[in-house]
């Protein structure tokens, strides 16, 4: 009897702590939104972060985009060739990238590269008493440190996703047109006809903005919550990748269902 009571108590504690964490996370997001005026009053703080965060991830995203484009070109050609419709390769590559792979893979890479850097930076600032020092100087660290990074991430993500899709399409073109010999005119004209600015491109951009908010918020939250020790910061960076990636994949399913359903 006491064993089952104990199990219920453990479950209850787990549920309560999860609910409390969700509440804290929501309040944390609310606190940043409420202080977002600094992004307008001091835009330089945000542009610096766009520059840093973008630089962290640009190379890995461009290289990954190229290889994903190569693979899409190859796999797309093998499948479309069976049905004699290889001229639709450009459309397949572009839609796959713009709708799904661009925003999702960029967000996953962003979580691993820029997200971990943000978590470690905030965690180490906390460990080095930098955030306390700021508070004592009557400067709100959420407003001064976190808000510019959040907006930096939100702005950088769609740009990086666009770079990923662009390089990916070029990769698909290199494999499909240059190496395999698909007709270049068909490759580009099918893409031009089949990709809709609003339904495909804009929805892809919306996805990348949502992922930008999610991944950056998770990264900042984990850094802010990290225990100010080397182990605490190391665990927080791992959690950023795990939680950020899972959130992106879950949200992608939800957004795809909402955006592309009939």
């Amino acid at each position: 009897m006491s064993g089952s009571n104990n199990a219920i108590a453990v479950l209850g504690h787990w549920v309560r702590s999860r609910v409390a964490a969700i509440g804290y996370f929501t309040r944390f997001f609310g606190a940043m939104l409420a202080r977002s005026g600094i992004a307008l009053s001091r835009p330089r703080l945000v542009s610096q972060q766009v520059h840093f965060i973008g630089n962290y991830s640009l190379l890995i995203i461009a290289v990954s985009g190229m290889f994903v484009g190569f693979v899409l070109g190859l796999q797309g050609y093998y499948t479309l060739n069976r049905y004699g419709s290889e001229e639709a390769l450009g459309l397949l590559v572009a839609l796959s990238l713009v709708r799904e792979l661009g925003p999702v893979v960029t967000a996953l890479l962003f979580a691993g590269r820029a997200g971990t850097s943000l978590t470690a930076e905030i965690g180490l600032m906390k460990a080095g008493e930098q955030l306390s020092a700021m508070e004592v100087m009557a400067v709100d660290p959420i407003r001064r440190v976190l808000v510019p990074r959040l907006w930096g991430g939100i702005i950088a993500m769609p740009i990086l996703a666009a770079v990923f899709s662009m390089v990916g399409i070029l990769g698909g073109w290199v494999v499909g047109v240059l190496l395999i010999g698909v007709d270049a005119g068909a490759f580009w004209s099918q893409m031009q006809n089949g990709v809709d600015v609003w339904k495909d491109v804009a929805n892809g951009v919306i996805k990348s903005v949502v992922f930008g908010v999610t991944v950056t918020l998770v990264a900042l939250y984990e850094g802010w919550q990290a225990k100010p020790t080397p182990e605490g910061v190391a665990r927080a960076t791992t959690r950023t990748v795990v939680m950020g990636s899972l959130a992106v994949l879950g949200l992608d399913f939800l957004l795809t269902a909402l955006m592309f359903g009939n």
Partner: protein, 278 residues
């Protein structure tokens, strides 16, 4: 441009029968002290005696469990968060580890309070920051990254940052730790000069007897969880109190045990440790 208030209060900092601690644990109790404008006050005590806790109470980072902490005649425990922010703007704090912002260079670290709290133009800002860096001997290090300077230099930069707004109350947490003898002497003189020139109140949290006795007007000695002694450096030096004598002369024997006391938890751990097979 010192951040002076319209009416200068008599006490920059005042503690009235204060008890301080974390959660249910009380570190210091029954602490009363006054710091007037222009005064240099040293708060001394052994490691772990609660000196830094005292500083955290003065900045409003922790609230008193009992008694009142008054900064510029305002009760920190009762003031609103906006009120606390405006009180903090009149203070400068030197943190124990410097707490320099690692994403900014030396110049931007010192410029940080000016950029956040004033609207002065870039030329004046540059002059003021370089002037403060010059006072700590690091004018030519303005362009360096925080990762490129030594620990002692970082503390001097942090000192320049703490005083750049020329606040009315400056709190120094271990300002002499980790400094070479030359920097130590210069820093001590700088603290005294700032107090004399700006008329600011200064609180030194330290255990460096020689340097702090040379510049302090008043010394408070904390130990055994309370205020062990208070007075001018001369009075304390002449005190016959065994705790004061032991602390000032650094003697191993006296009321303060050098050895950490043995606890049942330690005894249990020791017996387990001895029972372990290699």
């Amino acid at each position: 441009m010192p951040a002076q208030s319209s009416s200068t209060p008599e006490f920059a900092l005042r503690l009235e029968g204060v008890a301080l601690g974390y959660g249910d644990f009380t570190v210091l109790r029954d602490i009363s002290m006054d710091v007037r404008a222009g005064q240099v006050v040293a708060v001394m005590g052994g490691s772990g005696s609660g000196k830094t806790t005292l500083l955290r109470a003065a900045t409003g980072q922790i609230t008193a469990q009992q008694g009142r902490v008054l900064a510029f005649d305002q009760d920190i425990g009762q003031t609103s968060s906006t009120g606390l922010q405006s009180l903090r703007k009149r203070m400068g704090v030197l943190f124990q580890q410097g707490a320099l912002f690692t994403d900014l260079n030396v110049f931007e670290n010192v410029a940080f309070p000016l950029r956040e709290h004033t609207k002065i133009d870039e030329a004046e800002l540059t002059d003021r920051v370089l002037d403060k860096l010059d006072a700590v001997g690091l004018r030519a290090a303005a362009h360096l990254k925080v990762s490129e300077i030594s620990g002692g230099m970082a503390r001097r930069v942090a000192l320049a940052r703490a005083v750049v707004l020329e606040p009315e109350l400056i709190l120094y947490d271990e300002p002499f730790a980790g400094l070479d003898p030359i920097s130590l002497g210069i820093t001590a003189r700088l603290i005294r000069n700032l107090a004399d020139r700006l008329g600011c109140a200064s609180v030194l949290i330290t255990h460096d007897v020689q340097e702090s006795f040379a510049i302090a007007d008043q010394v408070y000695l904390v130990g055994r969880g309370t205020l062990a002694a208070a007075g001018t450096p001369q009075t304390l030096a002449a005190s016959q109190d065994p705790y004061v004598q032991q602390f000032l002369k650094g003697q191993p024997d006296g009321p303060v045990a050098f050895q950490y006391p043995e606890t049942p938890a330690f005894q249990k751990w020791l017996s387990q440790q001895k029972g372990r097979k290699a």
